[in-house]
Symmetry: C2
Subunit: 230 residues, 2 copies
Amino acid sequence: MNPRPAIILLSGGLDSAVTAAIARERGFALHALSFHYGQRHAIEEQAARRVAASLGIRRHLFQHMDLRAFGGSALTDDIAVPKHDRVADLPSGIPITYVPARNTIFLAFALGFAEVVGAADIFIGVNAVDYSGYPDCRPEFLSMFEALAAVATRAGLEGRAPRIHAPLLQMTKAQIVREGARLGVHFGLTHSCYDPNERGQACGRCDSCLLRREGFRQAGVADPAAYQTT
Amino acid sequence: MNPRPAIILLSGGLDSAVTAAIARERGFALHALSFHYGQRHAIEEQAARRVAASLGIRRHLFQHMDLRAFGGSALTDDIAVPKHDRVADLPSGIPITYVPARNTIFLAFALGFAEVVGAADIFIGVNAVDYSGYPDCRPEFLSMFEALAAVATRAGLEGRAPRIHAPLLQMTKAQIVREGARLGVHFGLTHSCYDPNERGQACGRCDSCLLRREGFRQAGVADPAAYQTT
């Protein structure tokens, strides 16, 4: 019997790589979907391609879109990415790196891709612990999207609406690192930094770098990412 | 007092033009969003620009995406667009022109745009009468998307989730034509055909052309669209 197909949203970051490894362990044939949305760097695309190759992904599609046109986010605009020295310094609330409706847009594409591929499962690496400030990283959002999927497509009308899986949802970053280590994820292929330099080295001080480094430290696992020496 | 902003999804077709005119009549300042998703013809883009200009739209954004990569639709693939002689000949069920998750994707972008613009209203020209076969043209779908919007974004968390307006939802095509005539819509600027020739002339026999022609006929209004002479 052929393995069942599943869609994995793959950014090239740590979380989506571990999510893909979990889906693979569950026996799915993975169809990956990656996005460019006016990020500052093509580094994420390279990371997504490397991670996909390392995980034996069946098919890998890229969608290019211009969320910069909307404006309003440090990830898509020329707003400076905030830097901090410690995780404890991260502000609470919705971070400036929030991109309006990003996960709604990503899951909407995944829904279309799932219908064409015949996939009844979509995996997304969102996390409600470290990214509690993002509205679209919460369980309420994911449940509601699943309810939308049931009425939005042909598959939904036929009772085959895809389920949304977010296996990292309630994990800490340290737990994610341990899970990735157990599954043999090549951490060195992943890219997390919001503000890398021109050589692709991570800044080490943006929200994403701080959470990643702290996660590796707490997990007792070496982080092979290349950080800028400051 | 400045008029409240609203997002209008504008395809350049008859329905979205009439929807925009309705939103304008209700006093909104319109921010339009149009999509290219691997359609066969750039004619829709030109029509969307013309319609936007004729309606005094405040700002007009285009998003380009490649839904062809997914496959599975006569609107994005090299599958022939079906032709018929009469509306009565149109098959029931989901048409071959269905694009998986299209309206979910469009509304997801509209949601992001609305948040950045500060719009509490999104207008979409879907119609459940003539397009009853499309799952994402039904009231159940629109209600569920509105529920999703309430949990998906910062605006939602702050109690300012946008409402989704689909004023044409229960209208027949003839009623849409009459409403457009009342509002002074320049029907000649709109484009409906799924399969125009290289000069931009409508085929007259695809689902969209048949429904449009029948609508104008029933409404007793002349259709200024250019049809191929066969």
